[in-house]
Amino acid sequence: MADLLPWLRLIGQRRGRLWVGALLIALTIIAGLGLLALSGWFITASAVTGLAFAAGSRVAFDIYLPGGGIRTFALVRTVGRYAERVYNHETVLRLLADLRVSLFRSLARESVMARARQPGASWLSRLTNDLDSLDTLYLRLIAPTGLAIAITSALVVVSGWLYGLQAATVTGVMLAGALILATWGVFQATVRLTRQRVDQLESLRGMTLEHLEGQAELTAASARDEHSRRLLRDAHTSSEDQARVDQRIGWFGAGSSFLMYSAAVAALFTSIGRFQADEISGPVLALLPLAILGLNEVYATLPEAFGRLGGTLAAAHRLNRDIAPRGEPTTCARPPKNGSAPLPDAVLSFRNAGFQHPGLPPVLVGLDLEVKPGERVGLTGRSGCGKSSLADMAAGLAEPTHGKLFRNGYGLQDGNEQWLANVSYLTQSTQLFDDTLRNNLLLADPDATEHDLWNVLDTVCLGDLVKRLPQELDTWLGAYGRQLSGGEARRVALARALLKPADVIVLDEPFTGLDASTRQTVIANLSLRLRGKTLLAFAHAPDALPEVDRVVEL
């Protein structure tokens, strides 16, 4: 449960809205409860009075007050429901934005190094799902539970006042039982199954991908049908678990509503004696059981919400883990400046540097490399040889796990901020945003002029293409806009990297997806544009490099 705390605190920042929303729900529920109870009271009172009339006695009976009450409750219930839904939906949308903006800020605060690599697609989709399950935390879980407890308590107090301690105790105990069954009971019965659901689906997804990508090989080996059966069996197991959760929610819900109705029965049973003793009137006798029936509306939503709580907790746990600063590589295990001084004029100097992901064989061992100001160095190597790790280290996104690295003469994190500001890094994966082309470019340099933008687009041979677009620089890119080809997107990313006013340029596979002739033109343009800057370019082969002074094979 502690996993939910940070999120509850975040949701709590909208305390005002939450209280108003809860009050609106409470008003609706109380009106519903009141409508039924008062109607029951009115009918019973009418029956008693009617019999008295028939017997000839003239009893005074005010029909206007209860009549008015019934009408008011009916109206409040309708209007309250509408207002509650509009208001609370707006709250949910606000919370949704709050959660995302705050999560984004925490992710952004985390040092670039701690995250190391671009998040994978499956991580992102899990993040979305996890956030989705937190969005309705307030509306599905907190508000109904709080209200159920509050209204139940109020009802018990009122029944203590009207019917005495005995009736109040009996109803109180039974209603508490119903409440516990609908919340804690359901949670306990489902938490194990719902907690593992995400992992189960992830592993199922892995197996499905394997089945699909391996179709040819599986078919060739006559193993496809067997694999297909296994896949269906695993999917069935996962769905079966979910069905089990649904069934448990159903049975616990039924049990809870049985207890709740039984409380009404018990209330009636215990208060008949008081009626006979003339301590309460007939209409009052009808009041409590009917009010309890009205509680059903509050209780009915609880089992479903608590049946999903296990999943919500797991989601919160994953989110907490993902945004918690991981390992803090900034802590200085070694002194910031150590050992022999680097070359005074080296922009970058790797000394016997190595890189290794925890628990895996090193991807880079014993690298010595000096890059002087204005030097253009190309680095090539086969896949998996540590090119991208080296690029990350050069750009200041990672530190070597072995040996030393000095940037502008500084070791480790000293001056990392300045370094990041002075280096422009084109990562291996192309990352454009759902926004206009202009805004995508301006990220690199918010002060760039129109001229600068066209200039850099010409450098990557995109100027003509963009001029032909109806909205030119204001063309929207991404999911809702123009779909760029892989090569076009790569060039936009390259243009953006070039636009950043930096002295050191790190390009990782800059020409992915570019055809040979475009590549030649871009290489020529680059040589002009990058004059005087320090360049590190990484590629799988020398012909995929821009013009460089020397090539280092990794």
Binding site: A47, E213, L360
Partner: protein, 568 residues
């Protein structure tokens, strides 16, 4: 947001959902019967409750006198709870069965399409359909569909009972009745547009958020995270305002339902009250008793309850129809003739002289439905133990020839035999150049295609594929997961793993499509050495390639160009 396919989809999606519903009809019927029974017990419960209050207040019976009635009431409550539990059971089962059926339909369609056509679409998309889109059907079968019937049966049941006791009160409930179909439509339309709006807004918001998170490193590299956070905030606010505008209207439809439910209760209460007071002297009013009056009042909210529940489940339907559209499109696409030549009339060659232990193609032609010619009139004999290279321009038919030999594509004309049998009858090994997601341990992975492989053989194959070092670095060797600590294999490593599977296979025929394309030099050398070894073992190899060293390895090189084979 991006999941809206064009065209005729809704009808066929609904038809498909209906056919699934038909398949799970027994579970659904169970749910409806149990739900109706729960409604019946509700009626009994309310009757007992009203009777007890009536007797206690009017006839002044004691609690002891009323004990049998209390027991009856508890019995009704218990039976109702059991019926509700059973209903939940059947609803969950219905959804389970429907999802299983949908999944096996998709898996069968994958099989029908064959490996070549299947991966026209990315495996990720297909997997998402198979997992997430099928999951999206859950609410429809588990909640919406049974509720759809219950929203008719249960109110009718209540109404019949109320008519029996007091037709005038029933009339008040029915005040709303001509409106019920309108309710349903309103609720439907309202909920539909509400859902669309709501989900669209949420979709766009998550999209914006994801977009920023995906590019977080980029934003950090350019020092632009705070402006991005502010942009996220303003865009969220914009979407919210826009959505709320529609939601305010959309919620009105459910408010109408709510209004009639409340008003009906109020009107019934007033009518019964005045009737009991003797103010109403026509119709059944003078016969009203406290029992019948209370009973009718208690049934009034229950009359509307199923409808209100249906409104709540409406978004399940919208979600299912959306998912079903995509699934149906996929099923149609995969099952349509597409790129697979139909009516492959395979005539086994029975003449003994022709049936040697060879691979024989006789006058084989492949024409795709879109008019392209894959192969034309191609005859070929590959001897057992021969190593044959196919070369030629891309699109010339090399892959098609391999696919024919594999049995992935059936020839439009002519005949193919592989060791006297139709292609694909005897297991063979296949090495493709596509990447492969690896799931599970090394041993599990290798046993995918060679289930009986021994540990020694597996280690030998991995060593030969140049993965020995990587394997030794893993704590549990063959039984440790291939991908650990969230780190996948590099492209080259994944290819070597595929090679290890081929090396492990004992198949006589090995087909390889561009085995060295896009490989780094080291992996390339490993592949060459492995193929050399396989040739030496007397296996039959057919591979498409441009690679000079590979061509040198072959006993014979054929050029495939414009669907025709020539000796080159």
């Amino acid at each position: 947001m991006s999941t809206r396919p064009p065209g005729r989809a809704p009808e066929s999606a609904r038809a498909w959902l209906k056919s699934l519903a038909h398949q799970v009809a027994s579970y659904r019927r169970g749910a409806i019967v149990a739900g109706t029974a729960a409604g019946l017990f509700t009626v009994l419960q309310m009757a007992a409750l009203a009777y007890i209050i009536d007797r206690a207040v009017i006839s002044e019976w004691t609690a002891i006198d009323l004990l049998p009635w209390f027991i009856a009431l508890l019995l009704a409550l218990g039976l109702k709870a059991i019926a509700q539990g059973i209903q939940a059971h059947y609803m969950a089962r219905a959804s389970l069965a429907a999802r299983n059926e949908a999944r096996s339909q998709l898996t069968n369609a994958w099989k029908t399409a064959g490996p070549v056509r299947l991966l026209d679409e990315s495996a990720g998309t297909l997997a998402r359909e198979w997992i997430d889109h099928v999951e999206a059907l859950h609410g429809y079968f588990a909640r919406y569909l049974p509720q759809m019937s219950l929203a008719v049966f249960v109110p009718l049941l209540m109404l019949t009972v109320v008519v029996w006791f007091d037709w005038l009160a029933a009339l008040f409930l029915l005040l709303a009745a001509p409106l019920i179909p309108i309710f349903m439509a309103l609720v439907g339309m309202g909920a539909e547009s509400l859902n669309q709006r709501h989900f669209e807004a949420i979709g766009r918001l998550s999209g914006q958020f994801l977009d920023k998170v995906r590019g977080l490193t980029t934003l950090q590299l350019f020092g632009q995270t705070e402006p991005a956070a502010e942009l996220l905030q303003t865009r969220s606010d914009d979407y919210r305002r826009l959505t709320m505008k529609t939601l305010r209207v959309a919620f009105l439809s459910s408010a109408v339902l709510e209004f009639f439910a409340s008003v009906s209760i109020a009107v019934v209460a007033m009518y019964v009250g005045f009737g009991l007071l003797g103010y109403i002297e026509f119709g059944p009013a003078p016969q009203l008793t406290l029992f019948s009056g209370l009973f009718v009042l208690l049934l009034a909210p229950e009359f509307f309850q199923p409808l209100r529940q249906l409104a709540q489940h409406y978004h399940d339907r919208a979600a299912a129809v959306g998912a079903a559209q995509l699934i149906v499109l996929r099923l149609d696409h995969l099952q349509s003739a597409g790129g697979q030549p139909e009516d492959a009339t395979f005539t086994p060659i029975t003449q003994p002289p022709a049936c040697t232990r060879n691979i024989m193609l006789e006058r084989v032609s492949v024409r795709f439905p879109d008019g392209r010619t894959g192969l034309s009139n191609c005859s070929l004999v590959v001897g057992q133990g021969e190593s044959l290279a196919l070369t030629g321009p891309s699109g010339g038919g090399k892959s098609t020839l391999l696919h024919v030999l594999a049995g992935f594509i059936k020839p439009t004309e002519g005949s193919v035999t592989v060791f006297c049998e139709p292609p694909g009858t005897e297991p063979f090994a296949w090495l493709a150049q596509s990447p492969y997601t690896v799931h599970g341990t090394w041993a599990e992975h290798l046993r995918l295609t060679t289930p009986t492989a021994s540990e020694r053989a597996m280690i030998r194959a991995l060593e030969a594929a140049g993965l020995g070092e990587l394997l030794r670095s893993r704590p549990e060797g063959l039984h440790s997961p291939v991908t650990e600590a969230g780190l996948g294999l590099s492209g080259g490593q994944a290819r070597r793993l595929s090679l290890a599977r081929v090396l492990l296979s004992e198949a006589r025929l090995i087909l390889l499509d561009e085995p060295t394309a896009g490989l780094d030099r080291e992996t390339e050398q490993i592949v060459l050495a492995a193929l050399q070894k396989l040739t030496g073992e007397g296996r039959t190899l057919v591979f498409a390639t441009h690679h000079p060293s590979l061509l040198g390895l072959a006993h014979r090189v054929l050029t495939v160009q414009a669907g025709e084979v020539s000796h080159g």
